[in-house]
Point group: C2
Chain length 283, copies 2
């Protein structure tokens, strides 16, 4: 276990709030300071005990922190990290929780003032709920967190960051930012696009005839459009490539269906089932 | 409430077993006879109390029944209904629970021996679990069941069948077989195809980086390939038409992503979210 002195959590929604709660419950920090933009969210966070105290002033929180975790939307992460670094006084380690990594890491690494260093993180956790009230101190237990150090990262910083996530209960996978973005395009960003297209293609009149299959398949399409458009914009090339591979799979089904070939349909559905079932077999 | 004398349930997996259990728990029949093809499943069904007794002999069960519910795979329903009607002696009402209706109803209605009449049903219920052990007497409570009478259906038969499902706790929607198949192509069959293509397009190496979004979006792809290929084959034209509409929705996302147009992405994601959210608002 690694003990931190003052941790600043910037953005205290589901992920930020859960980090704060997890740190506090496990005694991983002397003090957790929550930084937000709306007084109301800050009050909720304090009331729920997700942070020790809060502030609207990112610079003030950054000045006293030795660890800064930026949990703002993908489109704002680089600017928030730069602002935190500029105000820092304790040579902090800074990380984020954004769903894309290559663009953010390229913008930030090696070029921060105040002796601050940035190493990217992406916890594969979340859910339908949002906001500080959804915070869960065990959100990361058993979940995968990708950490994306590069050749410019100090080995000690990568190790400290990995220890943080392990201390919060997660399983850590180390990848390059590019490998992360390529993989997540297929496992997270494409599924979102596919779900959104499926929801959009369903007529309002047919909604009463949807059941759990449709509901599950489209669940992620209920995500915030602005947050997700930032993710897509930040990982465009990889998502377009994943979409191409998906369309090929779709073509195969269309061909089998158009041909009326039951053996071919059974084969394709069997391959898909194998892939789906293989997911449940992994540890 | 309508009380039946002897109900034969042909096929006692999740749906058939749940019907048997629901009938018995609510006292809707004097006796429920389960018909299966494997002695093992029949034993499980009796042990769990989903039926009063069982037989491997469809004809024997059909002979004494005044209601016959055929819960076999789509590709076998018409043959099983014809065999049941041929053996019937009590002018039974016969229904099914198949996921497609037009082909089955066209093959069966108006042409059955023994004074038997067929009216189609499709309960929009199910789940990941399967087999007689998954039976749930409240499976249909609050769920939608589509009943598909036609101009050839006796009004009394349609009313009796609707009452059966209402007595099991369901909300009944009456549609023509064609309207049912067109709607379900969009709300159930296309989602299955989309989920299967998504699972198939995901590389084995990337599976460890999947989280709840991928898992939800691909859940139905774990369904039985043979059962689903029968459903697709029985509703080919409608599924192909639904797939065309889906591909148009996918094209819109691809275009916005290719153009790098964030406003366009936000608009498309917002429309999809509205459609998804509208589903939760319906009663």
């Amino acid at each position: 276990m690694k003990h931190w002195d003052t941790v600043a959590v910037v953005g205290i929604g589901l992920i930020g709030g859960s980090i704060g709660l997890g740190l506090r419950r496990r005694g991983l920090a002397r003090e957790v300071v929550g930084v937000g933009r709306r007084q109301e969210s800050l009050q909720t966070a304090v009331q729920l005990g997700t942070v020790d105290r809060t502030t609207l002033d990112l610079a003030a929180a950054a000045a006293e922190a030795d660890l800064i975790i930026v949990c703002t939307p993908v489109g704002r992460i680089a600017a928030d990290v730069r602002a935190a670094a500029a105000a820092s006084q304790r040579r902090p380690l800074i990380t984020d929780v954004g769903s894309t990594k290559a663009q953010i890491v390229a913008e930030l690494e090696g070029g921060l003032p105040g002796g601050a260093r940035f190493v990217g993180s992406h916890p594969l956790a979340g859910g339908e709920k949002n906001g500080p009230a959804a915070a869960d101190g065990d959100l990361f237990v058993g979940r995968t967190v990708v950490v994306t150090p590069t050749a410019l990262t100090r080995p000690g910083d990568a190790a400290d960051l990995e220890q943080l996530w392990i201390d919060l209960g997660a399983r850590v996978v180390r990848m390059s930012p590019d490998d992360h973005d390529r993989a997540l395009a297929a496992t997270s960003h494409l599924p979102h696009l596919v779900a959104a297209a499926l929801a959009a293609a369903t007529s309002i009149d047919d909604l009463p005839l949807t059941a759990s299959g449709w509901a599950d398949s489209t669940r992620i399409a209920a995500g915030d459009p602005e947050l997700w458009s930032q993710i897509f914009m930040s990982n465009r090339a990889n998502v377009l490539a994943a979409l191409d591979r998906y369309r090929t799979a779709l073509d195969n089904f269309q061909q089998a269906l158009g041909d009326g070939s039951e053996p071919q349909l059974i084969r394709l559905l069997g391959e898909a089932k194998c892939r789906r079932d293989a997911r449940n077999e992994r540890p």
